[in-house]
């Protein structure tokens, strides 16, 4: 079985980078599809999404779950705390006063929604990993990078040539 390689091509011209991605998407290199590509960028460029085509984002679902949990938890937490604290009624108000509880339910909705979003974000975006050895510090200045996650040994040269022809300024590779 042929060896597997990982490859990073650096670009200083973003338009060229997008062109290359679109070409790969169009099947320019045999055995490499757009799903093998990861694009690294110093900024959030809308061109990346256009070039790569649709890829899913799921954070908002968890946010919704967090918000729903927050508001129901809020209601039952407050109401059950109040209903087990009967000895101290106040100001002629009911034991479970809804108008004031709504205020805190609202706060809890936001609290849980924000925290779920934040906790889910690193997981869904694949943070907390070691950056791979191909990573270049230019990627946090002004270069974009295209990572091909997996290239078969016999495709390696074709892939390299493709990037060279497509004005990549630097190409790095490693065996995996």
């Amino acid at each position: 079985m042929a060896s597997k390689h990982k490859m990073l091509a650096l670009y200083d011209d973003f338009e060229e980078c997008f062109k290359a991605i679109k070409a790969i998407r169009g099947g320019a290199v045999k055995g490499v599809t757009v799903d093998d590509l990861t694009v690294l960028s110093p900024v959030d460029h809308h061109g990346i999404d256009e070039a790569l085509g649709p890829r899913p984002v799921n954070v908002q679902r968890f946010t919704l779950l967090g918000a729903l949990f927050g508001v129901t938890f809020g209601f039952f937490f407050l109401a059950s705390a109040q209903a087990s604290f009967l000895v101290q009624p106040q100001g002629g108000k009911p034991v479970v006063p809804l108008p004031t509880n709504f205020v805190l339910m609202y706060e809890m909705l936001i609290f849980f929604a924000v925290w779920t979003t934040v906790l889910v974000f690193p997981v869904l975006s694949g943070l907390f990993k070691k950056r791979d050895s191909l990573y270049s510090e230019k990627l946090t200045v002004d270069h974009m990078g295209v990572i091909v996650e997996e290239v078969d040994g016999h495709n390696l040269d074709a892939m390299k040539d493709f990037f060279k022809n497509n004005k990549a300024v630097e190409i790095r590779e490693e065996k995996i």
Partner: protein
């Protein structure tokens, strides 16, 4: 467990004072104060200091408004009194906690240190108080007193500490306190009545202020007992519990009863009887 509790009793927990509330009252202690009889002698206030371990703060702090007089005698004068000695026209108003039925001080306490007892009193739990002082800010009568300093250190120098009432605590700094309608006396009377398997008899005990008043201007009792003196006084002047209504007929000079700030719907438990003015006599 608590989930079941909420589900089963939810409608009960949603009752507010106007719907009878969640609790049934055992007593509703109240007062009737006849301002026509009040001479402004401050005996009530003094008695209160003695009974309730009120700190004597000294002239300086008192002038700063940091006094601890649970019962104060407020003095008012006419605006355009043309008499030779306008001070003669002073009017007195003994002002203590009105033990409101729908007290505004209660719901604003962040830690529920002030609450409504089944006796209809606003109780202050000193141990629970964290001293946010919101309750006094929300009291239209401004009859709550805050321990701005550790008054006990200087209030009762030896041997005056021997005169402290052992039935209630001495408060340290950072705690709100206020008139309790002499809750320690209420407690004793209720306990005695329970031991003797009877109801509390009207006049069996009095608050310190009512006891000390030389002219008998302060009448104290239970409005749940229709036979009590205070109930009769309330009925005579057509003052009823509950939200304020504007139907009181004003044309009858015999109806002198009113509750201060009743229009704020706080349902105070103290009825004042208007002073009969000299000019009107």
């Amino acid at each position: 467990m608590s989930f079941k509790n909420i589900m089963e009793n939810f409608s009960n927990y949603r009752k507010d004072a106007e719907m009878g509330g969640h609790h049934d009252y055992e007593h509703r202690w109240a007062m009737a104060i006849d301002l026509d009889v009040c001479t402004g002698c401050n005996a009530c206030s003094t008695a209160c200091y003695a009974e309730n371990n009120l700190a004597v703060v000294g002239k300086e702090k008192f002038e700063k408004g940091q006094g601890m007089h649970w019962l104060r005698v407020e003095r008012y004068w006419e605006d355009n009194d043309t008499r030779e000695h306008p001070e003669n026209g002073a009017m007195f108003l003994p002002m203590m906690c009105q033990q409101c039925g729908a007290a505004t001080c209660e719901p604003v306490c962040p830690v529920a240190a002030t609450y409504h007892t089944p006796d209809g009193l606003n109780a202050q739990v000193y141990n629970r108080c964290i001293g946010s002082r919101y309750c006094n800010n929300n009291c239209p009568f401004r009859v709550r007193y805050f321990n701005f300093w550790s008054y006990y250190e200087s209030s009762w120098p030896e041997p005056l500490n021997m005169q402290l009432n052992p039935d209630l605590s001495v408060r340290d700094k950072g705690v709100m306190e206020k008139c309790t309608f002499c809750i320690q006396r209420i407690r004793v009377a209720k306990d005695l009545a329970r031991r003797e398997e009877r109801k509390v008899i009207d006049g069996e005990f009095l608050t310190a202020c009512a006891q000390a008043c030389p002219t008998g201007a302060i009448v104290f009792g239970d409005t749940m007992n229709p036979e009590s003196q205070v109930s009769k006084a309330w009925a005579k002047h057509q003052i009823t519990r509950g939200p304020h209504t504007h139907t009181k007929p004003k044309d009858n000079p015999e109806l002198r009863g009113y509750r201060i700030f009743a229009e704020l719907n706080v349902d105070p438990s103290v009825m004042y009887l208007e002073r009969v003015r000299e000019t009107e006599v």
